[in-house]
Subunit: 264 residues, 2 copies
Amino acid sequence: MTFHAFARRLRKHYEVSQADLSALESLPCETRSFLAKEWILQREDPKTRLLILTTGWAVRSRYTTEGQRQIIQILLPGDVLTPDAFVVRQSDHDILALTRATIRTYDRAEMHRLLLDLPSLAAGLWWSAAQEEGMLREHIVRIGRRSARARLAHLLLELYRRVCLISTPEENCLDLPMSQAELADALGLSAVHLNRTLRELQRAGMVEYSGDTLCLTDRSALAQLCDYDDLHLQLDNSADESAFCGTSGGPAEMQSNTSDRQSS
Amino acid sequence: MTFHAFARRLRKHYEVSQADLSALESLPCETRSFLAKEWILQREDPKTRLLILTTGWAVRSRYTTEGQRQIIQILLPGDVLTPDAFVVRQSDHDILALTRATIRTYDRAEMHRLLLDLPSLAAGLWWSAAQEEGMLREHIVRIGRRSARARLAHLLLELYRRVCLISTPEENCLDLPMSQAELADALGLSAVHLNRTLRELQRAGMVEYSGDTLCLTDRSALAQLCDYDDLHLQLDNSADESAFCGTSGGPAEMQSNTSDRQSS
DNA sequence: CGCACCTTTGAAAGCTTTCAATACGGGTGG
DNA sequence: CCACCCGTATTGAAAGCTTTCAAAGGTGCG
C-alpha cells in the first residue's frame, strides 16, 4: 500500500494510526497536475477544497504593488496547501508550482466528516498546520534579523532537513529546483545579492552547487553561521504525549524531559 | 453573560453558536496574571495547556545568538497563545507580556473533549488559527519586501483593524502600549530608524502621537503608501458557507460572490 | 542561429544600521 | 524637595550592507 507524501510526513513525526491513514487513502479525491510555473491557486480564488501537494515543489507568494514578489513559504510533497480550507472562504495569497507538480484535492465536507470519525487523523492535520506555523515564524526571524549569509544558510539547512523528512537524499545533497531569483524572493533579497552570497558560501567551502543539486559540504559551519536548529519543525511529538489521542487527560504539568532535539 | 475577548473575536467574524460559546465559558480554566515585561511562556517550555490572552498585550518573539530580538507576532486580547498545544510538546519561541496581562489556561484534554462535542467551537478555534497564519504570512511580506515606511504604515493599519475587532476605540486612534524599540523589533528595523520613520509619517501628516496614543490621521494615505488591505485577516467567513457547520456537503465550486471586502 | 532565461560581476547609489550624544520623564533615596 | 538613575525618545554623522543599473557569459530550445 503506497501512502502519499502527506501520510509519509505524518507517520514519521506524529503518530497517526495505520487505520486512519488507510481511511484517508480511500477518501475520494481528485488528482490534478500542473506544469512548472503554473498557478495552483491565486489570491482571491475561492477555497472550496482541501489541497495536498503530492509531487513537485511549489511556493506561496504575494506581490507588492511595485511588482516585487515575496515568497512566503516553500512547499514540498506532503505539505497541505490549504489547511484553512474548512474555515476560510478565499485565498489571500498565490500558490505557484515551481516544478511540474501534482496535488490531491478533497471535498472539504467529506474530509471533515472523516476527521470527526478519525481523531488521530484530525490531530495529524493539526500537527501539520502547527509545523507550517512554526516554519512561518522562523521565516520571519530569518528575514527580519539575519544577514543575507545567515538567511541563506538557514533556509538551506531547513530545506535539507525537510527533504530528509519525506525522502532519503544523498548525504548533504539537496536537489533544489529553484532559480536564484526565486531563492532571493523567498529571502527578501535581490537576485544579484543572493548570487553573491551564494558564491561567498561556496568560496568559504560550505556549499557546492552545480545546476539543480546543491551540496551542503559543511553543515555544521552553516549551522553555526546562522544559529540553526529545528525546534520549529515540531519533530518530537509522539502521539501518546499529546492530548488528542490519549483519553487519559494528561499530566497537569509535564517535565521538559525531551530526548533528542537535533540541532545538527 | 460576559464572554471574554476570544468569544468576542469569534462572534464577530466566524459564526459560532451561542450555546457553544457558553459551554466554553463554563469549561474549567485557570486565570493567571502577568506584569508588564514578564514572560508568559519561554522557548523550550512544555506546552501542556491551551492559553488564551484575555486582557493586555503580548508578543511572540525569538532571539538570535547576537542578542537581537525579532518580534514574530503581536498578541491582543482574545488571541490564542498556544493554538498548537494539542499536538506540540514544547514551545519554539517566547511569549512576553507587553503590558499587565491576564490569560486563561485550559487543560488541553478537557478542551479537546469539548471540541469533539461542539464542532462549531472547533471550527472557531480553527478559524482563529487560520487568521493567525494569515497575519504571519502578511508579516513576512511586510518585512521581506517593503520599505521601512511601508512596514510601519502597514503594521499600524493592521493593529488598528485588529483593535477594532475586539473593541471600539476612538475613531482612528490606537492605544499602542509598545515602545519604539519594540515596534522596531517587530518590523526588523533598528530603534533609531524606526524613530526617524515614525517622525517622517508624522511630518507627512499621516499619524500623530503623544505617549501611548497614536492617531492615524490619514488612514487612506497610509493604506496607499503600503498597499494595505485586510484580506489576510479572514474576516468574511460566515459559518453557513464553511464545511464545518453545515452538514449539507457544500457546493463543489462556489462563486467568489463575497460582499464586502474592506480594503482601506 | 536567435531568443529567453538564468547566472555573474563591477560600480554607484541608497536605505539602514551603528555609534555618539542630548533630552525627557518617572521613580527613588537622601 | 532635589539629585540621580534609568529607560525611552531624538538627532547627527559615518559606516555598512543591499539594491539598482549595466553588461557580459552560458545554456536550452524552437
